[in-house]
């Protein structure tokens, strides 16, 4: 975690993580406003720390002789790190509770509770735009046409062990959030893809034409 103490490194990490794809050294250096060699040094430090993963890939369209050797590229590491001082273990507790909820099987109560939590959380950032609010909750939203998709699942570990339950909860929380924010022209729905969050937002109302 100390690997992120350096502001340049933080900037590089944020940039690579925010792309959601492989990023070359040149591109990262440009984005961080630093020299390529310095960027390479910091990127490799982030790989050493386990925050990024590195690979080799040909950038650009050229192949065969003359296209040069593959460039070193970086992407966010798949593993997750969390810091809690003093040590806390909400993951284990969440796992136990998810097991119990699965056994009880009361989907309606689960969704109602999640919607309440989502609604209540809207008070945390009253002035924020929708994407800002999603950002603050760890979703990493991005635009895709007129829709907002979410690159990161904040509940990833539990979504792997209890996907039906966690994705249902996630959708209901997002719906509660929209409701309390008064976002009448935006609808949340499950539209999962491998490697992303299961929820996507569609602009349904009059604002659609303005935003396209």
């Amino acid at each position: 975690m100390s690997a992120l103490a350096d502001p340049v490194r933080r900037r590089l990490y944020r940039f690579v993580a925010g792309r959601g794809r492989d990023v070359g050294r040149n591109e990262a250096a440009e984005a961080a406003g630093i020299q390529r060699t310095l960027a390479a040094f910091h990127l490799d430090k982030l790989v050493e720390a386990g925050l990024l993963e590195a690979g080799f890939r040909r950038l650009g369209d050229r192949t065969g002789p003359g296209s040069g050797r593959p460039a070193k590229v970086y992407r966010r590491a798949a593993g997750e790190l969390s810091v809690s001082l003093p040590p806390r273990d909400y993951g284990t507790l969440a796992f136990v509770l998810a097991e119990v909820v699965d056994l009880l099987g009361d989907d309606e109560q689960v969704e109602a509770a999640a919607r309440r939590v989502g609604r209540r959380s809207a008070a945390e950032d009253p002035g924020a735009g929708l994407k800002e609010a999603l950002e603050a909750r760890g979703y990493e939203p991005y635009d895709e046409g007129s829709r907002i998709r979410l690159r990161n699942c904040p509940f990833h570990t539990l979504a792997e062990s209890h996907p039906r339950l966690v994705c249902s909860v996630n959708l209901a929380m997002c719906e509660g959030l929209l409701e309390a924010r008064g976002e009448r022209d935006v609808a949340a729905a499950l539209d999962p893809r491998p490697g992303e969050c299961c929820v996507a937002f569609t602009r349904t109302g009059p604002s659609k034409n303005n935003e396209d």
Partner: protein, 158 residues
């Protein structure tokens, strides 16, 4: 080895009823996604139409879904990372709550298209003995190597 999966669901009402209309409407798009998913191998079909469900003698109002996949990841991505997830989320609108497991997986040799009887026997095995190398779930998963080295209790009894 390929991975076979059986799902069963007890419908709340006859399949041609108003209650089930939403479910029936999803059969075509969900089956279309299934059949074109990376790693999809085979699915037991009830007929030529995408809405034809498999006919069987295991009780009225029981719908079955039997398919074969190249890997756990391929099946996972279809079940939980596609339009199919919303069917799972809405299960209470259409299906009875059951206390027993309603889904089972097992390894089959490549090219084998398991008959429904084989699949139902695997579900019975899971229900009777819990997860093992010959009848298991995503949560308690067994690799194909474990299945090969340990003969199934059900097969030993034959």
């Amino acid at each position: 080895m390929h991975l076979a999966q059986l799902n069963v669901a007890h419908l709340l009402a006859p399949i041609d009823s108003e209650t089930l209309a939403g479910f029936v409407a999803l059969l075509e798009p969900v089956n279309a996604v299934s059949d074109t998913s990376p790693g999809f191998v085979w699915r037991l079909k009830g007929g030529e139409l995408p809405t034809d469900t498999v006919q069987h003698d295991y009780g009225d109002h029981l719908v079955t879904n039997l398919s074969v996949w190249e890997s756990r990841e391929a099946l996972w991505n279809f079940v939980y990372r596609s339009v199919h997830l919303d069917v799972l989320r809405r299960r209470r609108e259409w299906f009875l709550r059951v206390a027993e497991p309603y889904s089972v997986m097992w390894w089959v040799p490549e090219g084998h298209e398991p008959p429904l009887e084989e699949a139902m026997a695997r579900l019975d095995l899971l229900r009777a003995e819990g997860p093992g190398p010959h009848a298991f779930t995503f949560k308690d998963f067994y690799d194909s190597s474990e299945a090969a080295s340990r003969p199934a209790a059900a097969e030993e009894r034959k």
